[in-house]
């Protein structure tokens, strides 16, 4: 594929305007992007072009029927300026799993992997080295085919854009265990990184923010009794010394950080359980003092400790532990990601 990947370089770079010491999350973009069109029944060869607006017909199905999916990844730079990805094939596989559920044609692996690594080589200088910073990578597919008929589009665009980014959350996180609204249905699209899953969370999250929380923890739509995920993160709970997370399902995203944290925890000798977690169990453990930690895990959020949770008009504070599982696990995973420690799992992927 190398000889078919066309590259059109930007005439000037915006990099000098960027304050790398004060990066927000996902709000400034690098000089180039990868674009790959699906047309006439096939994915055409990808191109790298200057970062530029998209021009789409007002009847493009993305605007009407939410036919879009995405992935979130990060590129990390080590002290020798080597560039690393973390389990990129897992993102590729999940992109195609999402594609299938949203009736988007699956993408060839080489278009994704070679497009991504070539783009990162070109944008190497944009990868921040400050602690906690990284280059956030957003691969996404949108329906560009047209028509006011509720059916899959016949044309799509696969794009990779990159944003040098700081932390997703600043400080500890206050969450609300949701008792009215829901994120996903059994037999629905909750396990896919589909656009519509996110828009549906905004309003209930706004209501939670107005009450002083940062994020909602979603529960099952039938009884609101089982903890699912937090929209941008999977949720881990530590009761006594056991680390517990819910099983993945058709309602819950199969998080790459989630499964990596489980493997690292086992390697650390931490007792882990993957099983349904009831809200009652968490509240009882909080009251009994056996609920030691809760944290979220995701590519954007990395490992985000939860300071307190709200449930039915009560707030429950979590203890502030000196040597928490969250801090140990965050150090282990980021040390692997930034090439500061041995990678016994074979997760690191060198961009070259």
């Amino acid at each position: 594929m190398t000889n078919t990947l066309m590259i059109e370089k930007a005439k000037t770079s915006k990099i000098k305007d960027v304050d790398f010491d004060n990066l927000s999350f996902g709000s400034i973009y690098t000089d180039h992007m990868l674009v790959c069109d699906y047309k006439d029944g096939e994915w055409k060869a990808p191109k790298i072009v200057p970062y530029q607006p998209l021009t789409l017909d007002p009847s493009a199905k993305i605007f009407h029927y939410g036919q879009s999916i995405f992935e979130g990844m990060k590129a990390y730079k080590d002290d020798e300026d080597n560039v690393w990805l973390f389990r990129p094939l897992e993102n590729f596989k999940r992109l195609n799993k999402s594609a299938k559920r949203i009736a988007i044609p699956e993408l060839p692996e080489e278009f994704f992997m070679e497009g991504l690594t070539t783009l990162l080589q070109i944008e190497k200088d944009w990868i921040p080295k400050n602690p906690g910073s990284s280059l956030y990578i957003r691969p996404f597919i949108l329906a560009s085919g047209t028509g006011f008929h509720a059916s899959p589009a016949d044309e799509y665009k696969f794009i990779i854009a990159c944003a040098p980014s700081g932390a997703y959350f600043s400080g500890k996180v206050k969450v609300l265990i949701e008792q009215n609204y829901s994120r996903a249905a059994n037999g629905g699209v909750g396990y896919a990184k589909a656009g519509g899953n996110y828009a549906g969370q905004f309003y209930p999250t706004q209501l939670a923010i107005e009450k002083g929380y940062n994020q909602v923890i979603w529960t099952d739509d039938n009884e609101h009794e089982y903890i699912e995920e937090a929209g941008a993160m999977n949720i881990f709970v530590r009761i006594n010394d056991t680390l517990i997370t819910g099983p993945t399902s058709d309602r819950i995203l199969d998080g790459i950080t989630r499964k990596s944290i489980l493997d690292i925890a086992k390697d650390e000798g931490i007792a882990t359980e993957v099983r349904k977690i009831s809200v009652t169990e968490v509240v009882e453990a909080a009251k009994a003092g056996t609920l030691k930690e809760m944290f979220g895990a995701g590519t954007a959020a990395v490992v985000s400790p939860i300071a307190s949770f709200g449930y039915k008009d009560n707030d429950y504070d979590l203890p502030d532990l000196a040597d928490s599982y969250a801090s140990r696990l965050k150090k282990r995973i980021t040390d692997i990601q930034y090439n500061r420690a041995e990678d016994k799992f074979g997760w690191r992927f060198k961009v070259q």
Copy 2:
């Protein structure tokens, strides 16, 4: 508002290229569209401009988080070339109901109504007069604000585009009562005309089409035992001489055609019930010969008779009645829409 509605006319018209005798549904567009931008915390004055592509940053939230909503309406032309809408304020109210749930700022009524009627006056020649044809109108709002952070956008575009259209379904419809996949969660966004609700239906609908059906009838996500809606239509069932449809809920769209059909049926002296319909009840009625009719109702589909339904590997045919409720109700509602009969309900709205 009249003096603030800017109009930029198209230099040439595409109308001569259109074969009005062979219109498909929603695939060709008129010469103009209405565009209204939300920026700096307010909806700016709408403009009518030549129909043209939209230019959006690759990081616009519509591409990533499915933040979009829409409406479906039709304009009808009578024998004297008067132009009519059907209950347009109901569409406006529902648009804002959807907006609230998807965290999109609500739109002022006068921007919607005056924008719509002015656009229709300009596009009057595009409204087909052939039987079964109409000008399909698509008001929609998309998130144009940017950022790879899963939160509501700060900028939006409200657009109205129009497509002269023929029938949505050709002929009778075969449906599959879905037993694996789901459309909506309790506490979710099923009642909103949100983009993501449609993308999630495409794959299960494709599977149904491969088995020889045209459309899926969705059931509740918990037991798959209660009939909800058909994605582009609400569902009516006639058992003996009673016409039954499910209650609206947070999972089911509050269809304007649905509630109009209920009012017309009562006016016709037909016994109606609005209550949960179990799949078991429908299958038993089909076996007993008491299931006389099933039909879908929606703006695009109007009243679409269902010829048969599939359930758990069995197909059940519906009788072909000479004087069906579906045909009587379709005639009553389209006679009102096309100004061929008295409008005792006050639903017709003259565009002038």
